[in-house]
Symmetry: D2
Subunit: 145 residues, 4 copies
């Protein structure tokens, strides 16, 4: 599975902890930064994530492969790996830019929500089409509305 | 100037940084926790701070006297030091519980806002009265509406 | 599977986001707070988590069941679910105290590390014994050193 | 007083709070990001800030002029405003890039510390010289070692 999009973050001092490395919870911030940048790149920020209630995270997971430290530049790759009927799954891969080593991998799953009813709604065809055009054959689609 | 109210926080790992101590910006979180606890204690959480736009922070400052480390228990004292026409100033003092040493001192200034207009409004008499009754003669009041 | 230990956290304003709910990444902070409190309760804070390099997180995951909001009090249940040769897995369950609803569930996996060599080492028998005595028959042990 | 250096940050979702704006404490993170970027630009990251104990923050303050929201791009200007015998003061100015309005202003004061003794030491002449060359006549120097 390949990644066609990446963004960079530089580790900030408050993201590190007394162990001397990035606190693991901050990788979910890096994933979110990359996810928003991915969506911005496809002109999809509004429907997915501006905080207006149109999507909801239901799962997040990460495997931590090697440490990241203060001032390290991390390359965060992001992709949509799967679109379900009402859900969109993102995959992430974080590498240390200077040392070209894998730092973390992760996944988040989001559900499209109707802000009026707070109920899941099918992922709109326009969003499916935009993501499919970008991701190509790597994208899994389990069901189409 | 004395403090009549305090709350406790235990330093969490993500609040420390690679220097091995609490990142200075987190003291403003501790101040905020103590401020909300102070207001809750006086049954004033709603008008001041539930995120419904009724007050706005306009200034924050802190002096860092000695370091705090992971798992340290900090006693955060809080008080309203001054009520202006539309503003309320809080003072804070953070001590290390186990070592009885001063860790930080600080101050935040908040302005009462009408959520409908986003304009400053006079601090209501009921709030003034409640705080005055609690703080007693230590409270400065620069002007009464 | 039951939980024999819990701790409470009150949602702080900076833990919420513009969507109006707790940012999902902060649940890993809540898990960490509960994990440290669990270990402190068993007098095991030093070997597991004081930032002195003796354990390393290798995986974290969470499922988000319902939102938490500013000032909500959350009950975070924690347990050790499994001890491997060099790893310790924690399980978490977060409930809304006032509404008795499930908010999140999660798991983190930690590996015991020799700080001198940064290599995994077997989970010490004393730690196994202490946790086994506390968790009882719910604890899975895949291999004993 | 002019600024000769600036950096940009884009507001991340976890930096906002339930009020819908950036939680005030995060401005101290933005200041820190800009300060490190300023020092990196002058090739001074090591002596000031890598977490190796060579400088210590003793004061931080900010005035909040207007709100910043999710996904806003902020221009953070930074400068060294003053060098004392053992201290270095930074000034900051945060503007909203798209709307060209002032968002916040602030200041942090740092003391040079000998890591071996944890005692303040004079700001080294090489650091003074590098900063003086960059800031020019706007820089105040209260005393030279």
């Amino acid at each position: 599975m390949s990644f066609k999009f990446s963004t960079e973050v530089r580790v900030r001092l408050p993201e590190t902890d007394a162990v001397g490395i990035v606190f693991h919870g901050y990788f979910f911030t890096y994933f979110d930064v990359a996810r928003m940048d991915y969506l911005r790149n496809l002109n999809l920020v509004d429907p997915f994530g501006t905080g207006r209630g149109m999507n909801l995270i239901v799962r997040a997971e990460a495997d931590f492969r090697s440490p990241a430290r203060f001032d390290d530049v991390l390359v965060v790759q992001a992709r949509v790996s799967e679109i379900g009927k009402t859900s969109v799954s993102f995959g992430f891969r974080v590498a240390h830019r200077g040392e070209a080593r894998l730092v973390a991998e992760g996944r988040t799953v989001h559900v499209m929500i109707d802000p009026a009813t707070s109920r899941p709604v099918p992922v709109p065809q326009t969003i499916r089409g935009t993501i499919r055009a970008f991701e190509g054959s790597d994208l899994k689609e389990r069901s189409q509305a």
